[in-house]
């Protein structure tokens, strides 16, 4: 038996200044409408938590269920940083596969402050996420910049390559009504934007956004009985952790694990996330029609393209320059426009990636449509080692 994606819904990304609950409810209602299902029929609700919106955000499942109207449905709430949405999908899917429910609603939404993400307040010298700001002033973009500079040194990538990623994603995003940034940009504009964390400029780095996304998941049997769409199935959900020693300096850490006693694992953490998804789906990168990856920065999209196996290490730039990863190319990356066009709404983002997978695989992505899309992967990574990759197929 498979789990099908019966409905998708989104509240447009932006800086709307309203409660995350509103965005979540709007996305949930849109997903239910898309599925052709009434809220009162939902048996299980999973909320992906947000940590910057007080107590209602910590128990997002209950918050959304209350807002939609208590029905006695069972719930879960979960937090896994950027992987929260994928974790929520995993929980709902697993419960359906276990036969404990037939149909579930997954919701994530966020309302974000202006500017850099800062640590949760208070004096907390035993929290590395607080300490990295206190001792080093190491913001999230600082880590993205370390990876970007490393690519330049190792592979010869240039700021022009990074700008080309933004140009590509802005082009796709201009065609997406749910994206926050709808304007196309030129490489000159990217390269003229202010330097934030050398070598990354303002337009290389994804913003933080408000937004909401939701999915209706169902067992294939239930979907058939109820006449819901069975066009798109979930073939894999990878939620792997790193293997010791993790030799990539991960946000928010001060150091890598040491290789003094144990040699590095065969795959880096990011590569292992996709690998586990491919194993579970019985597919490989050559089977994908497109991929959605977590482009927190332009340079990071190139890292991800290699990590999910679309190019050997160091050759994602070549793929980009050939136009292969653009809409209409051989293997589009981020046909939604990616985080470059959305800005990150943490608990909603992984769910939004799967909304894009579903629309593309249904053939309803309009002017962004990837021709004959049959299989796709969405990948991201949550702080402290929450891997997440989802493969959906027609």
């Amino acid at each position: 038996m498979d789990v099908v994606i019966a409905g998708t819904g989104m509240h447009p990304w932006g800086k709307w200044g309203r409660s995350f609950v509103e965005y979540g409810v709007a996305a949930a209602r849109a997903a239910l409408r898309d599925a052709g299902l009434d809220w009162t029929e939902v048996q299980y609700v999973v909320g992906a938590d947000t940590i910057r919106n007080g107590y209602p955000g910590f128990i997002a499942g209950a918050t959304f269920a209350q807002a939609l109207g208590w029905t006695g449905a069972r719930i879960a709430s979960c937090y896994a940083a950027c992987a929260s949405g994928a974790q929520a999908i995993d929980i709902a899917r697993t419960r359906i596969l276990a036969g404990l429910c037939d149909v579930a609603l997954v919701v994530g939404a966020d309302s974000t402050p202006k500017g850099f993400f800062t640590p949760v307040g208070g004096d907390r010298p035993d929290d590395p996420d607080w300490l990295r700001f206190r001792l080093l002033g190491a913001t999230n973009p600082a880590y993205f910049a370390l990876y970007a500079r490393r690519r330049m040194a190792l592979y010869g990538d240039t700021p022009e390559d990074f700008a080309a990623v933004k140009v590509k994603n802005a082009q796709a995003g201009s065609l997406n009504e749910n994206a926050r940034y709808r304007k196309t940009v030129t490489a000159e504009e990217v390269l003229a934007s202010p330097m934030v964390a050398d070598p990354l400029r303002l337009m290389d780095i994804c913003a933080t956004s408000d937004g909401g996304a939701a999915l209706v998941l169902a067992s294939e049997g239930y979907a058939r009985r109820r006449g819901l769409s069975t066009a798109v199935r979930i073939a894999a959900v990878s939620t792997v952790t790193p293997s010791f020693p993790n030799t990539v300096l991960e946000l928010p850490c001060f150091a890598t694990d040491s290789t003094a006693a144990v040699p590095p694992p065969e795959r880096t953490f990011r590569a292992s996330i996709a690998h586990a998804a491919y194993e579970e789906a019985g597919l490989g990168p050559q089977d994908l029609s497109f991929a959605e990856v977590y482009d927190l920065s332009t340079a990071l999209e190139l890292d991800w393209a290699e990590d999910v196996g679309l190019a050997p290490p160091g050759e994602a730039g070549k793929l980009l320059r050939a136009g292969d990863t653009a809409l209409g190319g051989r293997i589009p990356v981020n046909p939604s426009g990616g985080l470059a066009s959305f800005g990150e709404a943490i608990p909603a983002q992984a769910i939004a990636q799967v909304c894009e997978l579903t629309r593309q695989l249904r053939g309803t992505a309009g002017s962004r449509q990837v021709v004959n899309a049959r299989a796709a992967l969405a990948a991201n990574q949550g702080l402290f080692g929450h891997g997440s990759a989802i493969i959906a197929v027609t």
Binding site: F133, L136, G137, A255, S258, A261
Partner: protein, 135 residues
């Protein structure tokens, strides 16, 4: 001398040499920074005896960047603000990459693979942190 911004992560000898303070597992010899105590994180090791270890003072730049805008609190940004430089430095013997502020060098002075040496410097509000400096 000013107090360290955090206790037990680095030490300054009488001759001024600064060392990062980590720990080493007595069972498997894995090194940790920041200092790990209580249990070893190697999944193949049940070690609970982690003893203080001074890390190599020199390493090579794994990567580097800067903060062109003042980082938010709890960082204390200097006024007027000059960009903070950061380097992730690889210590060969320990097989570890350690992030730190860079003292008296900008991104234009750095390149991947360059050798740096540990020193210390003051945060804008006074206390000391470890910093990477010219070797």
């Amino acid at each position: 001398m000013a107090a360290p911004a955090i206790d037990g992560w680095f030490v300054t000898d009488d001759d001024g040499a600064v060392h990062l303070l980590g720990t080493r597992c007595a069972g498997c010899r894995t090194v940790y920074f920041p200092p790990q105590t209580g249990f070893c994180r190697n999944p193949h090791c049940a070690g609970e005896d982690l003893t203080p270890a001074r890390l190599s003072r020199r390493g090579t730049v794994w990567s580097y960047t800067n903060a062109c805008y003042p980082p938010p609190a709890p960082f204390a940004a200097a006024e007027p603000y000059t960009p903070v430089t950061l380097a992730a430095v690889e210590l060969a013997e320990e097989g570890i990459v350690v992030l730190g502020q860079v003292k008296d060098l900008t991104v234009d002075d750095l390149h991947v693979g360059m050798e740096l040496e540990l020193t210390s410097g003051a945060l804008a509000d006074g206390p000391l942190v470890w910093m990477w400096g010219r070797a």
